[in-house]
Symmetry: D3
Subunit: 131 residues, 6 copies
């Protein structure tokens, strides 16, 4: 489904095709996943979102694998099924092993637990943690 | 404040002191932050939570710095002020630079944005992402 | 499915039928969606929820279309698939075009991103914003 | 603060005072907490919210203490500081001891952890759990 | 599916089987639900999670039924489909009736509503609620 | 505070000043709020975030006031204090009256409530809502 449907490459405008081409070239793949085909109904958002992701996810002070795992950690915390499926695939492609995935999930689970313990016990921030 | 108050080392039972001692020894510090002092009202939860964190956050397939940054990413997604303050401090201690922090925040922000775009557009999981 | 099953009109008590009748009359439709059929197992909650929605969603200082789009924006932020599907339909019926939907999603995505940037950077409220 | 300010009893309209009076009579107290004083700017929402809470939180198949603890559990999961403070007070008044609070927090923390493990591992619902 | 697949009893290592055996013995059942079969790829997390749940969910200051309903309330707030399905089943097994389920949902819904009203109106914590 | 501190105009690099200047010109104000001063530590994110917000929040199929109210609705759902304070101010400046604010909050509260009722009752999407 998808609210407005999916726009395939052959039905896309030149503006949308340019983004699709850049996605495939940047990722070294020959296909486009559904997220972009859905966003293509709004070319401005398609372009802006892709440009932002391309800039943010490229290597910098953090390597691409770490970034993909952080993306997955956020998606798991938000419990977004599509995002979890797509970013698990992306993280694996970037080098995440099964053991790394398992440790990542353990950290995500633990953080979600202690976030609530802290809130529930109404713990005040230690003076030393104030920057 | 803190719902049940904070238990200082000098007022703690031997069971609680043993956990405090292990926290300080493991972290190489001479103080205990408020989270543990609040949890100390429930020694079973104090012990279980500390043992779990100690096991989960130690080096394994992922290094401690990556784990601390993931912990921070989850805490930011959940918007837990105490957790953000304490895990920013922990991640810095583990080696997170200002540049790494900035890139981490950019990824966390982006993931939170696309998680909602995906949900809002009701995008179906691509067959290739199904494991 | 639905935890307690769905109660169809022909199987409903007079109390439940009265709510179903009012829903259809208010909406100018001849059917009841699953949400109400599931809630009908708890007639008090069915009635209270319907009365509240009817009061809140009617025209006032805000028009019904704006209210439906806000309802959708919240449902997307919470990532509730049923709510997104049903309120997308409701908003369209109230006049939301594809272009309006696309801009709505862009705002929802952006707000979810900056909410986390603000939290992650631990930004304090400006004096001018305090009311 | 509070966005629109707080409306004290002496400044309230007869409609608002009637709700305030019912809150105090129902709770057996002689004061109104800030939540209601803020909502009083919208008498319709004030009345509807109070009537709903009064109906929902009274004894039924679940006793008032259990209901207050569930309210607190939700507020902790959502990390709402005001709600945590006010419903901790309400639950204590209804009989929650320190030991009950501690066990409640342990369950809330654990549930928040496993909710993410389940999502992260993309676990499918067992046939036996489908109703 | 499940990211890493499910590990059945007959394919499990002795370490994993020991946990499976304890789960079945503790629960008085002869089957293992998918959550544990997915976690079994990480025996350390499997063991730690089970030991924690066993400790937390047993009778104490709160009875097991209350704990199961709180677990369900959190899962509903987080909107985790698997968790809702499995903990609805567990709560029913522990004695939750349809009427109790309905009241539980009413409280969860109400708390999620007022949590946002409080935040939206920027209500400050009453002095009396500060502990 | 703010994790990395705030960068004032007089201490900003030409790149950051250019963004500050554009923010003030676009908004017709002579000051910069803390969010941007915190983000300024990461000029790439500062620029990208500002360009995105400027593009998204300008008049289009939806008017600026509606967009600001949607931004506020999301911020309230996420319970982000800074975002609620700043976007309440922005929405008021764009024309939101007290009555509009009150109705907006009522819709946000209601949506958060029914999102959980739907999830808790495990309601399936009606065939008619599938697009």
């Amino acid at each position: 489904m998808a609210t407005l449907g999916l726009i395939e490459y052959e039905d896309a405008s030149p503006e949308v095709r340019a983004v699709y081409d850049d996605i495939m070239a940047t990722r070294g793949t020959d296909w486009i996943n559904n997220f972009w085909k859905a966003l293509a109904h709004d070319p401005a958002t398609l372009r802006r979102t892709w440009e932002s992701i391309k800039e943010i996810m490229s290597a910098g002070a953090l390597d691409p694998l770490t970034k993909e795992m952080v993306y997955l950690a956020v998606s798991v915390t938000n419990q977004c099924p599509y995002c979890i499926a797509s970013h698990t695939a992306a993280a694996r492609k970037a080098g995440m092993t099964g053991a790394m995935f398992a440790e990542l999930m353990a950290v995500v689970g633990m953080a979600n637990e202690t976030n609530r313990l802290v809130s529930g016990y109404q713990v005040e921030i230690d003076e030393r943690f104030r920057t």
